[in-house]
């Protein structure tokens, strides 16, 4: 049980590459923190710095009120689940879990109790004598989890633990991990590039990009009020539609609110907040006239890809997957307009997001 605080943490590699550019946040006792970001954003490096597998160039990593910068991984009272599980291939499942306890000189009966208890929890009881190579991917993943929980550490660290599993198992294990963490109430830091995992697991979500924190907050707060266009397009699938504002008809809709209209450079609206309707939006909402280019039916919902009739260019923010001028509308069910049809998509004013022209600042309206 412990808080984890990062204070102005930086990491510069010997070559001069700055992987982490001053990160500062705090994770409360028992909270589940998810670090999310595209590959190369430094999230794994940051996790490994907390684990002690990477040195900290400057700043402080604090676990449970103790600065651990110079403390060996073994003495930080943490346990880590690796992406490739990193099980000891020559040891049985039992020994994989018992190894860390033996190294700490725990008496045999207690080791046995803990390992069997963990095996019970993780449904590994019948497999204690097997070697990792005789297990399926999901079972290996559970052994890796077991190795972490038998230690009863202050902090769990997860480095993309589900990315080697198939989609179905990934969802199942995601729920398992969350349930387990709720029950054990162990502070956790979880690294992923999957925004869905991030949204569903996190108490605190940290969105990272280019070695910096873009936004910290509860998943829903971040979804509702993304601080930058990067966060807006990274959190939520399909990504938020971002439309660059010129001196045009959309901007005119904000004419009543002169301050925001003057400062705003980019308008954002989520695909799920757009509706296809016959009438134009009222009350300062927006209306987009679209030509349907493509349709994706996923069953419960349908994505309509349209280009705007008078193409104002949409902003391509990294990792903006939208080509310029394209807008996605998400509608329920399987009904969809025909390809090539002209449609009108509207969103009410409270569903709109405004950002400064460089995308770095959110403007509240």
């Amino acid at each position: 049980m412990a808080n984890v605080s990062l204070r102005n943490v930086r990491k510069t590699y010997p070559g001069g590459f700055e992987a982490i550019k001053g990160i500062e946040f705090e994770i409360g006792d028992g909270q589940f923190c998810v670090l999310v970001g595209p590959s190369g954003c430094g999230k794994s490096t940051l996790l490994r710095m907390v684990a002690g597998l990477e040195t900290v160039t400057s700043g402080e990593v604090d676990i449970g009120g103790r600065v651990v910068n110079e403390i060996e991984p073994a003495d930080r009272d943490i346990a880590m689940v690796f992406q490739n599980y990193a099980l000891y291939p020559h040891m049985s499942v039992y020994n994989n879990m018992a190894y860390g306890l033996r190294n700490r000189g725990m008496p045999k009966p207690e080791i046995d109790t803990r390992v069997r208890e963990a095996a019970q929890t993780l449904e590994l009881a019948g497999m204690l004598d097997r070697k990792p190579r005789q297990l399926s991917g999901g079972q290996r993943q559970r052994v890796a989890m077991g190795r972490a929980i038998v230690r009863q550490p202050k902090v769990f660290l997860f480095d993309e633990p589900l990315s080697n599993l198939d989609a179905k198992l990934r969802v199942a294990m995601r729920v398992e991990i969350r349930k387990l963490q709720r029950r054990l109430k162990t502070t956790s830091i979880y690294v992923t590039h999957d925004q869905l995992e991030a949204m569903t697991l996190a108490d605190i979500l940290v969105v990272m990009n280019g070695g910096q924190v873009e936004q910290i907050g509860s998943p829903l707060d971040i979804y509702r009020k993304p601080a930058t266009t990067f966060v807006a397009s990274f959190i939520g699938a399909p990504p938020m539609n971002l439309i660059k504002l010129g001196g045009n008809e959309i901007r005119a809709q904000f004419a009543g609110d002169s301050r925001s209209a003057a400062e705003a450079g980019i308008l954002g609206v989520r695909p799920e907040d757009l509706t296809i309707s016959g009438a134009a939006a009222t009350d300062g909402g927006i209306t987009l006239n679209l030509t349907v280019e493509a349709i994706e039916r996923v069953g419960a919902e349908t994505f309509v890809y349209g280009t705007r009739a008078r193409a104002e260019k949409a902003v391509s923010a990294t990792p903006g997957e939208l080509p310029e001028g394209e807008v996605i509308v998400r509608i329920p069910g399987q009904d969809a307009p025909a390809i090539g049809a002209s449609i009108r998509a509207t969103a009410s004013r409270d569903k709109l997001h405004l950002f400064s022209a460089n995308g770095r600042n959110r403007i509240d309206i």
Binding site: A51, G52, L53, E72, P73, A74, I78, A79, M80, F82, Q83, N84, A86, L87, Y88, P89, H90, Y99, G100, N103, R104, R147, R151
Partner: protein, 293 residues
């Protein structure tokens, strides 16, 4: 997906095998069968005719105390060389596996001795440790150590062991290094987080995971010390002093080539061959079982 090509006709596979079979036949089965046949013969001193004498060569051989002495020498020599070259190579490989700046240079330097022919390696070591010429012999004597591999059997043994180990380390080093680099970093990191210090991590994780490499090298090294060290022994000590460094393979040469007893020498090489086959079989049968693949 069927990946292997299928050839019609029976001839092509055999044709493809022919080069390999010819080489094995000419360079192994033919000389080996000649040796077996010769071990049942006695030749006269001029090599003009030979007569079949059955097992007499073997009986004579097994009645020789020198033969048992050569066996004992071989056991001492081979266990020393195998143990030392394997453990020193492993030590060097673990050092080279660390992220040191000098590691690439270190690796290249480690590999050079392997390119040196055994006899040349022997001569090099003889130059260094020759009792009257050697650069190391003088300092040794000045320290009050009466170093003389020409007269003292133990000194001679130490010298050939050193030369043989020195030469074999390079080979073992290469394989150990490759083996070490095949161990996933994250497994060792998991060990570090699990509270195992570097020493414990080595013996409980690295060493067991290296066992396939170690086992392979053990087999190769045993064959090496039994046969390939001949050049070193011949160049450094010529089997002396008083047979102190006459290993079984050297005795085959000494008795057959120098002593002219072709039948006895052939009998020795047959016994040697059987010993190596048995040793290798034992290694595969018992050691391999404990190997973690």
């Amino acid at each position: 997906m069927e990946k292997s090509a299928v050839f019609k006709g029976k001839l092509l596979p055999y044709l493809l095998l022919v080069p390999q079979l010819v080489i094995t036949l000419v360079f192994f089965y033919w000389p080996a069968s000649q040796a077996v046949w010769q071990s049942f013969l006695r030749e006269d001193a001029f090599g003009l005719n030979s007569e079949f004498i059955g097992l007499e060569n073997y009986q004579a051989l097994l009645a020789q105390p020198e033969y048992y002495k050569a066996m004992a020498t071989t056991v001492v020599f081979s266990s020393l060389v195998a143990a030392l070259s394997l453990s020193i190579a492993l030590l060097f490989a673990t050092q080279a596996d660390k992220n040191l700046k000098a590691a690439p240079t270190f690796k290249v330097m480690m590999i050079w001795p392997y390119a040196v022919a055994p006899a040349v390696a022997g001569v090099l070591w003889l130059f260094i440790f020759h009792p009257s010429l050697g650069t190391m012999a003088r300092p040794l004597r000045m320290m009050g150590f009466n170093w003389n591999p020409m007269l003292n059997g133990n000194h001679a043994m130490a010298l050939v062991v050193m030369a043989a180990v020195w030469k074999q380390i390079a080979y073992n080093f290469l394989f150990f290094l490759a083996g070490l680099q095949a161990i996933p970093r994250s497994v060792l990191e998991a060990g570090a987080i699990d509270g195992a210090g570097p020493y414990r991590r080595f013996w409980t994780i690295t060493f067991p995971l290296l066992s396939p490499t170690t086992f392979f090298l053990l087999v190769v090294n045993v064959v090496y010390v039994f046969f390939d060290t001949f050049g070193i022994i011949d160049a450094v000590t010529g089997g002396g002093p008083a047979g102190a460094t006459t290993t079984m393979v050297y005795k085959v040469y000494a008795d057959g080539r120098l002593g002219g007893d072709l039948g006895g020498s052939a009998a020795q090489s047959v016994i040697l061959m059987v010993i190596v086959i048995v040793l290798t079989a034992i290694q595969f049968r018992y050691v391999e079982r404990k190997v973690q693949y």
